[in-house]
């Protein structure tokens, strides 16, 4: 083979392999090595490599959790919590714990929690931080523990399928993180060359501007997640995931159909009805998934007496 062609081939081949292996982890590792340099500019470049790899990879568990807290704060501002049903609240958390134990993601940063919204609406919401909110109205419409499990399993599905996170990744937050990286590199370089002088005001202002952009992004994310909800496709995915999860946990997955029929019967505005696709379509999709379930669930009546006892303070 011609030497020039061989040379070009080898360069191209190793470049492709290098790009393949220069994953976010490698960038981050190289960033760590540079970050240990005593030269502040090299250290800042190292930190910038880490930040760039951070901006391009999935959001960290701790970050998801804090975003989730902000979303939860917006939800509780719109729907005050119903704190008068301690038995029911404990019961919901027991059901949630039993479900997640049988799921693919039993552990997230701070865990999963369920609380009751003081609203007559048929409504349930969740945050990427593991917070699940169910309305008083929705709980009062259920007739069994398995029906409650269907609602909770659906919200767990949104969390474990990271439906909120996919929306966040497309938002301004990643550009905000990248812009602050550039600012921090400039500031470190300035400090390096003027050790005894105070930080250049222009650079300081640039950093503050980037930090404020990050804060505004958080507000944008919270508003988007609370007001627009999930796509139809995400709702079908969550129903399917919840049906399989209920089955794994030992609940009767056909109770998902019961809850979807209830949504169809309750054509009220807001909540599950406002942002969800038509219940009729969801029922059809859910029936397809149910046909694939082979596992036999324990009779839901074995849990009926505890359902009646544990929800007595809300029914």
């Amino acid at each position: 083979m011609n030497k020039s062609i061989m040379k070009k081939f080898l360069i191209s081949f190793f470049s492709v392999i290098l790009l393949t292996f220069t994953s976010c982890e490698t960038l981050s590792l190289i960033g760590d090595l540079l970050g240990q340099e005593s030269d502040p500019t090299a250290a800042a470049v190292g930190n910038s490599l880490k930040s760039i790899s951070k901006a391009s990879e999935s959001i960290k568990p701790e970050n998801e959790y804090y975003i989730g807290r902000s979303v939860a704060a917006s939800i509780t501002a719109a729907y005050p919590l119903y704190k008068n049903a301690k038995l029911t609240q404990k019961y919901l958390n027991d059901i949630c714990s039993a479900l997640v134990l049988n799921s693919d993601v039993p552990y997230i940063y701070k865990g999963y929690y369920v609380a009751i919204m003081d609203s007559d609406e048929i409504n349930a919401m969740s945050t990427p931080g593991g917070h699940i909110f169910i309305s008083r109205g929705l709980i009062q419409s259920t007739e069994s523990e398995d029906a409650l499990a269907a609602v909770i399993a659906h919200e767990i599905a949104h969390i474990q399928l990271k439906h909120s996170v996919s929306a966040i990744k497309n938002s301004r937050v990643t550009s905000a993180i990248t812009s602050t990286t550039k600012a921090s590199v400039l500031i470190a370089a300035d400090k390096h060359f003027s050790e005894n002088s105070s930080l250049n005001n222009d650079l300081y202002e640039e950093l503050k501007k980037s930090a404020n952009e990050l804060l505004s992004s958080q507000e944008e994310i919270v508003n988007a997640l609370v007001s627009s909800g999930f796509s139809k496709e995400q709702e079908y995915q969550a129903d399917a995931y919840a049906i399989r999860l209920m089955s794994r946990a030992g609940y009767d997955p056909s109770q998902m159909l019961e809850m979807l029929h209830k949504i169809e019967d309750n054509h009220t505005k807001g909540g599950w009805n406002q942002t969800h696709p038509k219940a009729e379509k969801r029922i059809k999709e859910a029936q397809k998934v149910l046909k694939t379930i082979n596992r036999k669930a324990a009779d839901k009546n074995v849990r009926q007496s505890r359902f009646e006892k544990m929800t007595s303070d809300i029914m």
């Binding site: 030497k3 020039s4 040379k7 080898l10 190793f14 470049s15 392999i17 290098l18 292996f21 220069t22 976010c24 982890e25 490698t26 981050s28 930190n47 930040s51 951070k54 999935s58 960290k60 568990p61 701790e62 970050n63 804090y66 807290r69 902000s70 939860a72 704060a73 509780t76 919590l81 704190k83 609240q89 027991d94 134990l101 049988n102 693919d104 039993p106 552990y107 997230i108 940063y109 701070k110 929690y113 369920v114 609380a115 917070h131 523990e145 602050t180 990286t181 600012a183 921090s184 950093l207 503050k208 930090a211 990050l214 804060l215 958080q218 507000e219 946990a249 030992g250 609940y251 849990r303």
Partner: protein, 160 residues
Amino acid sequence: MKFINKKIIVLMSVFLLSLSLYAKAKNIMYVAVSSASLKVKASKFAKESAILEYGTAAIVIDEKGDWYFICDSNDETKKGWIPSSALSKKKVLASSSTTADAKEIALAGKGFSSSIESTYAKEFNVDYSDVDYVESQSVSDKELQSFIVDGQLNSGEDNE
């Protein structure tokens, strides 16, 4: 070979470095939950052997279904079984270690964290007290085990 010039040698060296870094990284995972309870057996209800904090680098020693047997890379006496979902292959950095001098740079560069939340709460007048109330709920392993048995539910181990 004459056509192997400096460019190719540099590329090959970096390629080999990437490979070794990749291989080195392969057995290390990071704790991705705020506090990880390691168990003496691969079971949610087994006795606790150690606790590892968020971001701790751990060496994976063994696997059993969805459980990994790990030890703290800095303290091999801290070891035990943990569900794989509590670990991340990607490095997670705990956001607590910031110096006063680097505070604003760290605030801007680290993404959403407790420091961002404090600033966000002040800037936009957001109340987190009900969120803290929600997170105060807890279900002990003993309660969960009884709940599962009494309700004839599955304990997670049947799904392996």
